[in-house]
């Protein structure tokens, strides 16, 4: 009885905080309701989760969580299901609880039938102590936020320990030929789990709604996941077709002036290298078209969500892209703008010079970059996570939270 009381108080408190956050535009609606609810009733997450009619799907990994979760959410909605999902980036436990509470009735019952949640890779073991997912998708694991989580091997060991406690009915989807995940796949198969693998090629025959090899992987993970849930290929195709990219993941912002700005999140070497490969593929073939090369704004922050350590910028393959990169007008900003400028210097790309500019003031340099655009020239912003939120806020006049 007592536990039910504290559970309801937790839900109501969460709903109240959420109401304030929404109505007074406090910008913390994604995490604070959950944070307070967890303080009031630590078991709130398990209790909400077991009430989901069709259970939940968890997606974790270093890169592609948001995109893959959005793809699956879209496919499930297409099939007529009601879906509860955490908003982009609110992927710690408090974000998951917030999403549940916003969805739940006054009496703490989820309205939606199924949950799709992206979970921070460091928080996955803790999330699994409250969740018994129908489906667990592990996309990849790479060097990101080492200052928060220590080393990759210890993360894998913690994942394995947490997953082994799950019932063998939980279906597991992993990336094929990933140096870290392959070992995990072997251990899990040996322990009796049904493990399925996706790659750039498998399962094929589906058109990715987003460009780039990394999105090909995200799409295949989403397709394989949806099939595991019994969704037909026809519905999957429709879900993919009407998909809209998530905030900051290839999202296009059109300004009143007609100028176009595209945000590509760049939070670790892998995502930045994918961005550079993608940008190179967009370049016009003839050298005389250099005038239409896109302008690029790199923004490097070292706030907690970005990771305090910026060493990873030396693992970005700027050297491989030097021949076209230095022809683009370059703009550099962020709390660690000097570090990134120095990084480019050692890659053989001088900043500042006639077309390359830097300033730690994002607002100023964004204005300068936009003003510099010629007709038909696009601006790509390549920000770390907190910088992405700042850039969106400046561009649209409000944040996503």
């Amino acid at each position: 009885m007592l536990s039910t009381t504290s559970y309801l108080i937790a839900v109501w408190l969460g709903k109240l905080v959420n109401w304030f956050a929404v109505n007074f535009n406090l910008g913390a609606g994604g995490t604070w309701p959950g944070h307070l609810a967890l303080k009031t009733c630590p078991g709130v997450l398990r209790r909400l989760e077991v009430q989901l009619q069709l259970g939940s799907i968890l997606i974790s990994g270093t890169n592609g969580k948001t995109t893959t979760a959005s793809l699956i959410e879209n496919i499930l909605s297409e099939s007529g299901l009601t879906v509860v999902a955490n908003p982009s980036g609110a992927n710690l436990i408090n974000g998951l609880v917030s999403a549940f509470i916003t969805d739940a009735t006054f009496w703490g019952r989820p309205i939606s039938q199924i949950g799709v949640f992206e979970v921070d890779e460091g928080n996955l073991p803790f999330a699994l102590s409250s969740f018994t997912p129908e489906l667990l998708i592990l996309l990849n694991l790479s060097r990101d936020q080492l200052d928060r989580y220590g080393e990759i091997d210890s993360t894998i060991a913690k994942w394995l320990k947490a997953i082994l406690k799950l019932p063998r009915t939980t279906k597991i989807i992993l990336k094929k030929d990933d140096p870290y995940l392959s070992r995990l796949a072997e251990s899990l198969s040996a322990a009796g789990f049904i493990v399925r693998l996706f790659s750039k090629e498998e399962p094929g025959d589906f058109t990715s709604p987003l460009s780039g090899d990394f999105n090909r992987l995200n799409t295949n993970a989403a397709v394989l996941g949806s099939r595991q849930l019994g969704i037909t290929d026809l519905i999957i195709r429709r879900g993919l077709k009407n998909f809209q990219p998530a905030f900051g993941r290839g999202e296009e912002v059109k300004l009143v002036s007609g100028k176009s700005i595209i945000i590509l999140l760049a939070k670790n070497p892998e995502s930045q290298n994918e961005n550079l490969i993608f940008l190179r593929s967009l370049l016009p073939q003839s050298l005389s078209a250099v005038a239409t090369y896109p302008a690029l704004l790199f923004v490097l922050n070292d706030n907690i969500p970005d990771g305090r350590d910026v060493s990873w910028i030396y693992d970005i393959d700027f050297e491989k892209h030097r021949d076209w990169l230095f022809r683009c007008p370059l703009f550099i900003s962020g709390t660690r703008e000097r570090d990134l400028t120095l990084r480019l210097k050692y890659a053989g790309i001088p900043v500042p010079d006639s077309t390359h500019r830097c300033s730690s003031n994002l607002r100023d340099i964004l204005a300068e970059a936009i003003a510099s655009l010629r007709p038909n020239q696009k601006l790509f912003i390549l920000p770390t996570y907190s910088a992405m939120l700042q850039a969106r806020k400046i561009l649209t006049g409000k944040g996503i939270e």
């Binding site: 200052d147 350590d309 910026v310 060493s311 660690r336 570090d339 400028t341 120095l342 050692y346």
Partner: protein, 256 residues
């Protein structure tokens, strides 16, 4: 300086590459290139043959970085086959920079939280212990006052970087620390020492990577390597425009 050349031996690039440490190689080669010094990078993977001292490929600077635990044990095993060679190189005054995991493995041993010992090369008089969950990782921005003479001598002695290590290193009686920690953990978070100096070999926990924001230290390595390779010659190091390097260094001094 166009007639000079330096061989840079980059050990285990695929295994020890966790924290952007390859940036150190980029800085060494670029700073040589800007001065007209022909710097060649030779990579060494496990079991690769090591060059003879008289050979043209014998390294003038050795660099080794840090890696995840799984790589570290592979490297530790391979290092056992090379311990004699590496010790001889270091004791003869060969220039070497050993960061994080490599730094630990150049000591006597690394003891993990279960009490298991990985034997080290034994070039540095130090050992490292990991206390498991009992002690948190040493993570954060770090600054130290180093015990080195730079060129020109008016140059700051401060080194800046980022540290992230679970093991704690304790220096032996004959070991000289690289410097005194003014902000951060350093070797063990207890005695304020950071890193180690043995002749021209340097061990440290600083990545970030170390050399881009500490151009004085990069030049010290290049300078000492040139002096060793070309003894008795009149040598000087061409001054470079390091405005940006020092601005990044100054910005790092303000980091929490």
């Amino acid at each position: 300086m166009t007639n000079y050349e330096l061989n840079i031996g980059y050990f285990y690039p695929e295994l020890l590459n966790l924290y952007g440490d390859r940036g150190n190689i980029q800085v060494l080669t670029r700073r040589c290139y800007w001065r007209g010094i022909n710097a060649r990078v030779q990579e060494y993977s496990p079991a690769a043959a090591l060059p003879q001292e008289s050979g043209s490929k014998y390294p003038d600077i050795i660099f080794m970085g840090g890696g995840p635990d799984s790589s570290q044990s592979v490297v530790a095993k391979d290092l056992q086959q090379r311990a004699g060679w590496l010790k001889e190189y270091g004791r003869a005054g060969g220039v070497g920079l050993y960061i994080c995991g490599a730094y630990q493995l150049m000591g006597h041993y690394y003891q993990d939280s279960n009490g298991l010992r990985l034997p080290g090369v034994g070039l540095f008089d130090l050992y490292t212990r990991h206390f498991g969950q009992d002690k948190p990782r040493c993570i954060g921005n770090i600054r130290l006052e180093s015990n080195l003479e730079y060129i020109p001598s008016t140059t700051t002695k401060v080194l800046v970087g980022f540290e992230n290590h679970g093991g704690r290193t304790y220096l032996g009686p004959s070991a000289q620390p690289l410097g005194k920690v003014s902000s951060g953990f350093g070797n063990n978070g207890e005695d304020k020492t950071e890193g180690v100096i043995f002749l021209n070999s340097f061990g440290t926990y600083l990545h970030g990577p170390l050399l881009p924001k500490n151009p004085h230290f990069a030049d010290l390595l290049i300078w000492r390597a040139l002096k060793r390779k070309y003894p008795g010659e009149y040598l000087f190091l061409t001054a470079l425009d390091d405005t940006l390097e020092w601005q990044a260094h100054a910005a790092a001094l303000k980091l929490r």
